[in-house]
């Protein structure tokens, strides 16, 4: 098990280095940088000299190879640099927004998994009936309805039913738990729908596969109650592949947050990312991409290890 874990951890490193190299060079394919957006964005007449000075200050006039060296050395020492727009450390910019996004993500996962398990299971057990079709439509709906539009629909509904909109200033959970939940449950719902749909579909298909296995027939043949066959024999095995999807989709929730935070006007990681892209804030984009990739790779590792814990066959091969 230890060897397996070590092996997996070591495999993460080349992927992350690859991400670092890729994102650095991608952002520098075409000239043009933060300085122009910052100083000329409002149509102001700024002299070329001022622009050059600002470029020099940010180190953007150094040869590419030196900038690349700085970036890689910084990464090795876990220093992501400072934002080219705000001059504050990238890690600080991210840290102040992390709490909010993480909370929405965790709430969304709870909503998603709690709904997905019954949905996927009933669909599989009622295969071919109208219930199965209904679940299929609901889940494909989850893959099709854009989360930002779903968020807007939630807002319109709240407005018409209660004449109330979630406040735009963030209340941390330790300040006022109720106000916090009343504010964040809606964005969590908006991103959770898609998440739920993906997981429910996975559970349905893996349960259908498991139900064809010999050990299910054996269990039935020896007279085990159908309920127990499903809950103990089938569902346990079917949930295993679902873990992968739950993990990966959790890591990818940032994708949903990018648009949903915009709708609910939440100042989280997603909004920061969109801002940094529209400002060409290279250091911030790089830093966030690295963090997102590292998070994804780490979640993948956790999923693989969990898999090995639950399924001994993997451990020994």
């Amino acid at each position: 098990m230890l060897r397996y874990t070590l092996n997996r951890v070591l495999l993460m490193i080349p992927t992350l280095i690859g991400v670092a190299v890729l994102v650095f060079f991608m952002l520098r394919v075409i000239p043009g940088d933060v300085v122009e957006v910052k100083l000329r964005g409002d149509g102001g007449a700024v002299s070329q000299e001022t622009i050059e000075m600002e470029r020099h200050r940010l180190g953007l006039d150094k040869p590419l190879i030196y900038q690349f060296k700085d970036w890689m050395v910084g990464l090795a020492t876990l220093d992501l640099g400072t934002s080219m727009w705000t001059d504050r450390p990238v890690t600080e910019e991210i840290a102040i927004r992390l709490e909010l996004s993480l909370q929405v993500a965790i709430m969304a996962s709870f909503i998603a998994v709690l709904l997905a398990v019954p949905l996927g299971t009933t669909a599989a057990l009622m295969r071919g009936t109208w219930i199965d079709y209904a679940v299929r439509i609901i889940t494909i709906g989850g893959l099709s309805i854009p989360s930002f539009w779903f968020g807007m629909l939630i807002m319109i509904t709240l407005l018409y039913l209660f004449n109330w909109l979630p406040p735009i200033t963030f209340t941390p959970i330790y300040v006022d738990p109720l106000a916090n939940l009343a504010q964040l449950v809606w964005p969590a719902l908006a991103v959770g729908y898609r998440y739920c749909a993906v997981v429910a579909r996975m559970i349905r298909s893996s349960l259908l596969e498991v139900l064809n296995e010999d050990y299910i027939r054996t269990a039935r043949a020896k007279g085990v109650y159908e309920k127990l066959v499903i809950s103990r024999h089938a569902l346990r095995n079917a949930l295993l592949p679902a873990i992968t999807v739950i993990g990966i989709e959790f890591a990818f929730l940032i994708g949903g947050l990018v648009v949903t935070e915009q709708v609910f006007n939440l100042n989280g990681i997603g909004m920061l990312f969109v801002q940094s892209v529209s400002r060409n804030d290279f250091t911030l984009i790089q830093g966030m991409v690295m963090l997102i990739a590292a998070f994804y790779v780490a979640i993948n590792l956790v999923v693989d290890l969990l898999y090995a814990v639950f399924d001994p066959r993997i451990r020994y091969t």
């Binding site: 992927t15 099709s144 930002f148 990818f252």
Partner: protein
């Protein structure tokens, strides 16, 4: 030797047409296909179908509710929402088709190459695929947007198409590689190699035709993803830009200021995105069930 001694050819069961077979087995898939066809019709003949010019500003009818003159109401500039949705389907389809075609094709070629050569080439391609997979779809698309900015040819932002196509590549490559791996050991591939055909000929003429099924499924499914992604990027103000009519763009900016006064500004464009993406997703799903005999009962 008499020909008459040969047994007469067995009468094969009459083959139903493929279309009817699909309709019978996947009725909802067929309905989605009809939706797709209607959308394509609206996209191709926008000029004829749309009752108004999508760019016509009419300050006399700002934020008008749905009516007989304006089926979808009007927006903050008095533009006809229904017409903008019809024109928007052109934008969505052009970007959806081209970026999915580009992404899926490059992905498929990478996948087949990876499976065919195996060994070190396979390792390198897979490493590259892994790196791209560590980005959530929209994050990778945004990075490409940040890197390339706008480059408009014929009213279409080509770099937006790249931004949407690139995240599709690794996902298709992975699936197609798995399918191609099982084909690689087939005798006809060995035969082709023994006959001295070049690698590229074997890849394109012998292997590619046999991964068409997964390719088609991925291609339709990723049209759905691409339309959704285009809508999201436009919504964020980083995709299609004004004045081009695009569904995501109709929801961005000040549309949210009119939740109370003009909810139709939100309802109809979002419904158009959802319906289009739903139709492609459902069609792709039905196609998979229909093409994959293992799933048939």
């Amino acid at each position: 030797m008499s020909v008459a001694a040969l047994p007469s050819a067995p009468t094969l069961p009459r083959r139903r047409s493929v279309v009817i077979d699909f309709m019978r087995q996947q009725p909802l898939g067929a309905i989605s296909f009809v939706v797709i066809v209607v959308m394509m019709f609206a996209g191709v003949f926008s000029r004829l179908v749309a009752p108004y010019d999508p760019l016509d500003i009419d300050f006399a009818s700002i934020l008008g509710p749905p009516s007989w003159e304006h089926w979808g109401g009007t927006d903050a500039f008095g533009r006809d929402i229904f017409s903008r949705i019809i024109w928007g389907s052109r934008t969505a389809l052009v970007i959806g088709f081209t970026s999915s075609l580009l992404g899926s094709s490059i992905g498929a070629i990478l996948g087949i190459t990876s499976a065919y050569f195996g060994g070190r080439i396979d390792d390198w391609i897979q490493r590259f695929v892994d790196i791209l997979l560590a980005f959530p779809i929209i994050v990778l698309a945004l990075v490409v947007v940040a890197a390339l900015r706008k480059f408009v040819i014929g009213g279409i932002d080509v770099n937006l198409i790249y931004a949407i196509a690139i995240p599709i590549i690794p996902r298709v490559a992975r699936v197609v590689r798995a399918a191609a791996l099982s084909i690689r050991t087939m005798p006809y591939v060995d035969a082709a190699r023994a006959a001295g055909y070049s690698n590229s000929r074997i890849i394109f003429r012998h292997m590619a035709p046999n991964v068409v099924a997964p390719y088609l499924i991925m291609f339709t499914a990723f049209i759905a993803q691409a339309i959704l992604l285009e809508a999201s990027l436009s919504f964020l103000g980083l995709g299609v830009t004004e004045p081009t009519p695009a569904w995501g763009l109709m929801l961005s900016g000040n549309a949210a200021d009119f939740y109370r006064e003009a909810p139709w500004m939100i309802l109809f464009p979002g419904a158009a995105i959802s319906l289009a993406v739903f139709a492609f997703n459902f069609f792709g799903d039905s196609l998979r069930d229909w093409l994959d005999p293992r799933l048939r009962s």
